[in-house]
Symmetry: C5
Subunit: 179 residues, 5 copies
């Protein structure tokens, strides 16, 4: 038996029992569609493979897609809108970074210090998620989503239990450090 | 089975078992009437649709309405009084915000930094809730409340389980960010 | 079934199962007598009605009365002594506050910032509890305590389940805010 | 049924079910011998009666005695060594403090602000435990420890359930405050 | 029954039931292979015996080995890469430290203050783990790992329950303090 802790759309702390590990993502999708979230957004935002961006199931993290009145692609997470932004690959002598898609918003006065990132000037922003490098994870995709799922080509097989699989590596943040 | 974590009126941390997801709001109302709260007030306050303001069930967040000796509308939450204040719509070139109702109080010395918002001068305040935009959620209403509930016109139907419904969007806070 | 989380006298985090909501205060008394506490002291201290001060059951919050060698009334909470102090009513043009009894101590170097309150000069203190205004809550009284309990006059009646009762209002902290 | 939350020697958060309150200290000893700890060290350190120092069971807080290569008495707690130090009684006009034994170490760069205490100059230190005043608690002693246990003289009796006993007072920290 | 709390690879807070204490490390390995972690990295990093470094099972803390494009030995933990670095023994008059292997990375803007360590100049870094001194713990080894396990020479024996064994001491951090 597993137990997953959520913050509900009303801000309450609620734990839900889950029968087995292979049901966990289903439960996250089910409650995530209601805007329930589990755990804090990691500092610097969630990291996902770039190839998951097109059909990512935002309900997995309690978020949902939204098009703002200007027709821009946004994602809503806990009542706040994050804007989609494509980052080109960087290939300089100092830094080598593959292309990425980032969802971020301007910082608010009530954001805690450790989630704020500095941009140019005094501008500060907060990242919800960054999709960069890595190998596509089919289990992150929207079920029956807009993109033809890769598993369509696979022969029918029992769904693997998450505990049996090794997670595909996502892009690794590696700093050049002297130690 | 679900489990909701409360802080009681005596400040104790108590978890209550809840049989199923569709009983959750009932349990929040039942204990919220005693002043029990679950989870922290989100930074910047709870966000609810404006159309829920007239008959909002404050017990859902462990609060209750109160009229102060001067006859003003207040809400009590964890022993502190928040004043009701109507905000007019803003429609300038820099900002576009629909009308709202906000419940806030002056900051106290023991309020942590991340809940304080700046007003004019050195004044700081703390917001409990803001009602703005969005689509009315009948499930937030006071049962048999002062306002004629919209569902009165609906044919009798089994109450939907919260896990099956998609939450109605509330007004989205969208910042103009360069990224 | 409920579950209450304590910090024991040895500082351990221990959860105790409680059969039903009406047994909760009994469990808090039972373990509170051992110095176990549940939840953090609210910023600014617990707020209780003034009429509960004379026979308040300090075991409810894991504290106990103590008379220091000078004969002064103190309360011990988590190994620290708080001094009893009567505050006269304030009735000026700027502020109107009923009489109160406050239990507080000088701040220590290891007290976190958000519990410290400023007094005159550089002096800082920490409040455990303040008794002010409100309506007496018999359920907060020491069972068989020094004060003749008010319920003695009431006809025998089954003890109400806490979930069925509305908490009596305590004095409300209301600030004069411009919003 | 009780449940105690530990941080294991590997830093994991693990809760252990405990059948009844009188088994709790046994469970703390059993896992404490592995270096598991429950709860945070209180700001300023644990407070115990001085008469418990000679045969204190350090496993109760996940620590153990250690003699360093120089032959000094130390205690290891979460991989860090605390040095034993005897403090003489203070009896001045400003302060009256009984003799004590303190276990402390120099502060490290990664210690959070609220556990650091100031010593002379810029030196900062962190206290694990202080033994001062109070009345000996036999339940804190090492079972079959180096000191002849006081209970040897008592007639055989069923071990009291901790919930039935009132904790013996430890030395109380009392500040001279103007309120 | 035990219960271990994880943060999943998706950042969710999930508790897993564990039948008995001797199954705990197996469960940590099983979920750690998916990138799930339990508890926070201790300030200054995990401390392990140096003799465990060659075949340490990184899945125990939700990490995994990785060779970067330059062929360097790294460890990935929660999506961040830590570089392996050998530290020579220090034997000066001021400090005496045995040889060690450290896994660390440069600090990021969103790292909280208490995990940052100062290096030369303004450079700050974060340590995941340090292997120094101590006595090898076979239970930390990769099962069937690259190193010939020491237990191969031992006669067959039932695996000891972790609760019965005393943890082997790791190198102790001891500061020269004046108290």
């Amino acid at each position: 038996m597993l137990h997953i802790e959520f913050v509900t759309d009303l801000g309450a702390t609620v734990t839900v029992d889950v029968e087995s590990a292979d049901k966990l993502l289903d439960v996250q999708r089910q409650y995530g569609r209601l805007g329930w979230t589990s755990g804090a957004v990691p500092g610097g935002g969630y990291q996902f493979p770039l190839d998951n961006e097109s059909d990512f199931d935002w309900s997995l993290i309690g978020a949902r897609k939204w098009t703002n009145p200007e027709g821009e692609d946004m994602v809503i997470h806990r009542g706040l809108a994050y804007r989609r932004r494509e980052l080109e690959a960087v290939d300089s002598r100092k830094m080598k970074l593959p292309a990425a898609v980032k969802y971020s918003r301007g910082a608010r006065g009530t954001d805690p210090e450790h989630v704020r990132e500095k941009a140019d000037g005094e501008f500060e922003y907060v990242t919800l998620a960054i999709f960069r490098g890595g190998k596509r994870q089919d289990r992150y995709a929207t079920p029956g989503g807009g993109r033809a799922p890769q598993q369509a080509a696979r022969p029918a097989a029992p769904r693997p239990q998450p505990v049996a699989a090794r997670p595909a590596p996502v892009a690794v943040v590696e700093d050049e450090t002297p130690f």
